[in-house]
């Protein structure tokens, strides 16, 4: 099934911000916004839930500590107990560095992997920027079409008030 969206282009980040605000005030649905760099305050404007990536990172990091400590205890006390200068087999203090490094390693890789999966980014993926220049110096706003011939009416007026430099309607495949 396909649906119609409106793609508006902007030259300045403030224009995009204003447009996002105006569109939300009128209750139209924002599909996504596009920018060449991170706009820190857009999270509140776009709405949506807080990211759960920190939880993923914590769980992976905790798994790293657990696995590393468990493996070191098992290897040095059960599998091959080795007497090194009379030191205890299960000396926790000596296990800290490896456990710490494993925490950072698993936490970091788990986090980035979760991010890639969540954002559906993968090597070799074909990029589909909505407008030319959104990775250079352009900003774009995608609005779910609020009704037939919307561009002729309200939407066009609101976006033009926000200094949109381009406006077009597109048919896109709805995401599965």
């Amino acid at each position: 099934m396909s649906r119609r969206i409106i793609v508006a282009g902007f030259a300045e980040e403030d224009d995009l911000r204003r447009a996002v605000r105006a569109v939300r005030e009128r209750g139209w649905t924002i599909d996504d916004a596009y920018a060449p760099y991170a706009l820190h305050d857009l999270e509140a404007l776009l709405g949506g839930r807080r990211s759960r990536l920190p939880v993923t990172c914590f769980v992976c990091g905790a798994a790293g500590v657990g696995l590393a400590l468990g493996f070191q205890f098992w290897a040095t006390t059960r599998s091959w107990p080795l007497n090194v200068g009379g030191r205890p087999w299960n000396s926790l203090a000596a296990f800290v560095p490896v456990a710490f490094e494993s925490m950072v390693l698993l936490g970091g890789f788990g986090l980035v992997f979760a991010w890639l999966v969540r954002c559906r980014l993968y090597p070799g993926k074909k990029a589909l920027p909505p407008l030319d220049g959104v990775t250079d110096d352009r900003f774009a706003l995608l609005i779910d079409d609020p009704g037939p011939a919307a561009l002729a009416g309200d939407v066009r007026r609101v976006l033009e008030e926000c200094h949109a430099i381009s406006l077009e309607e597109r048919e896109v495949e709805a995401p599965p």
Partner: protein, 455 residues
């Protein structure tokens, strides 16, 4: 999170750039053919690398008897170079992670190349323990994997094993951090390049990034968390390296001051190397508007701060050695300053502590040539620091009949030269094929301070 008011007045990026100009300026060196300077520098660096490859091949074929080691001095040049290169890497993580957490916006102009420097320096460092093993093809024995020798595990109580985990994690997390930061810029580059192999590779690693703000918001979360993970990591890495020494019973090594002492020294040497590279790169790649004298000045202040900390560590180390009343400990330190390697000790003190004090003067901080010379001296001094700590603690041991000196052979010197060759070859290749300045981050701060300057 609220932005901290920075002690920085005026624009961060000079020349009233627009966002589009930032893309054009930073991509420009990648879109034109390499200049004469690049080929000259590359051929010099590559020749050194070839020399290093020849030296390493020879010592692997013949054995590490080709080194100047003896029964008394069993660790010298190789481990010095290892610690030196690991230390160089630390500034990259300081700039990319710690300054990010401190919301220092000036870092955006230098973080990309400093992180690349970290990766390359850690690669150079990692080669030395592998060469030192004598049988480098068995290096994987340090990895605890199920094997038919027992299974026999590595000794988890040994700092050398911790070192393997620390350096390995440091390399992989630095690579990840660098790559995540690079993805938006690869997308920018992808959308500018002409079709061809280069573009296909850039597009492959660009992960299909299209600038979606929802992706950007999650990207910000990932970046912040990675910075939070990398900050304790960078402190842990050189602490673990220092444990290679501090966990032994050798007078001159067995000291609790070692971890902070090594970490501050690492940051000092790394900042000096970043400055050395930045001063050359900004000139060669015409990035003067992005890496302004203000950026250089901020970094010289970090050099000054860490230099003072290193000076304090030298003083504490010496004081406690004399004060503790252990004859062997105090002898080692007197020998270090006044013995056969005393000249090296005073080079170390002069280059690492005394010379950087010139950075108290604003005129010196703003004279780029002076900064360059001082940073080269700090690099020399930091290499000597590791050499002196290692060799002077070993050469006069508990038994006077076994006292011995140490001098490197040409094979060891060629290996050191080769590591510099590897470092500069990789850095030059990086400058040629990837954006040396984080475009997406600079774009976000390009207007910073301009309105203030006009007011």
């Amino acid at each position: 999170m609220a932005d901290v008011r920075l002690p920085w007045h005026g624009p961060l990026i000079a020349g009233h750039k627009t966002v589009g100009q930032v893309t054009a300026d930073i991509c420009a060196p990648l879109e034109r053919r390499a200049g004469g300077w690049w080929w000259l520098a590359f051929s010099l660096a590559f020749s050194l690398l070839c020399l290093g490859v020849a030296a390493v091949s020879y010592q692997i074929a013949v054995g590490i008897g080709t080194w100047g080691l003896n029964r008394t001095v069993g660790w010298a040049f190789d481990i010095t170079n290892f610690v030196f290169w690991v230390g160089i890497g630390h500034a990259g993580t300081l700039i990319s992670a710690i300054l990010f957490l401190f919301r220092q916006k000036w870092r955006t102009s230098v973080n990309r190349s400093a992180e690349a420097m970290t990766l390359i320096a850690v690669t150079c460092a990692g080669l030395f323990p592998v060469i030192h093993m004598g049988r480098p093809w068995l290096f994987y024995w340090i990895i605890p994997y199920p094997n038919t020798r027992g299974p026999l595990w590595v000794n988890f109580l040994s700092p050398l094993v911790w070192d393997f985990f620390a350096i390995g994690t440091y390399f992989m997390i630095s690579l990840l951090f660098w790559y995540v930061g690079l993805v938006p810029d690869l997308a920018t580059l992808r959308d500018r390049l002409r079709p061809g192999l280069y573009r296909r590779l850039v597009a492959f690693f660009g992960l299909g990034w299209n600038g979606s703000c929802r992706t950007w918001l999650r990207y910000e979360v990932v970046y912040l968390l990675l910075a939070g993970l990398a900050t304790p990591l960078v402190v842990s890495v050189h602490s673990v390296v220092s444990a290679d020494f501090a966990a032994t019973l050798v007078p001159g090594w067995h000291a609790t001051i070692f971890p902070p002492y090594f970490v501050t020294g690492a940051i000092l040497s790394g900042m000096a190397m970043v400055l050395t590279l930045m001063l050359l790169a900004r000139k060669a790649m015409r990035m003067e508007d992005y890496i302004t004298p203000r950026h250089i000045e901020a970094m010289t202040k970090l050099v000054l701060a860490t230099s003072c900390l290193v000076g304090l560590s030298y003083a504490i180390e010496f004081f406690s050695a004399l004060y503790v009343g252990n004859r062997y400990e105090s002898f080692t330190f007197l020998n270090r300053a006044l013995g056969p390697l005393g000249w090296g000790y005073w080079i170390m003190v002069a280059c690492n502590v005394l010379v950087p004090q010139l950075f108290w003067f604003g005129r010196v901080r703003r004279r780029l040539l002076a900064v360059f010379v001082i940073c080269i001296l700090v690099n020399v001094g930091m290499w000597f620091e590791r050499f002196i700590i290692i060799v002077s603690s070993l050469e006069r041991d508990f038994l006077p009949s076994s006292w011995s000196g140490y001098a490197p052979t040409w094979i060891e010197l060629a290996t050191l030269a080769g590591s510099f060759g590897l470092f500069f070859t990789c850095f030059l290749v990086f400058c040629r094929f990837l954006p040396v300045i984080a475009m997406a981050e600079v774009k976000a701060v390009v207007h910073e301070g301009h309105s203030e300057a006009q007011a």
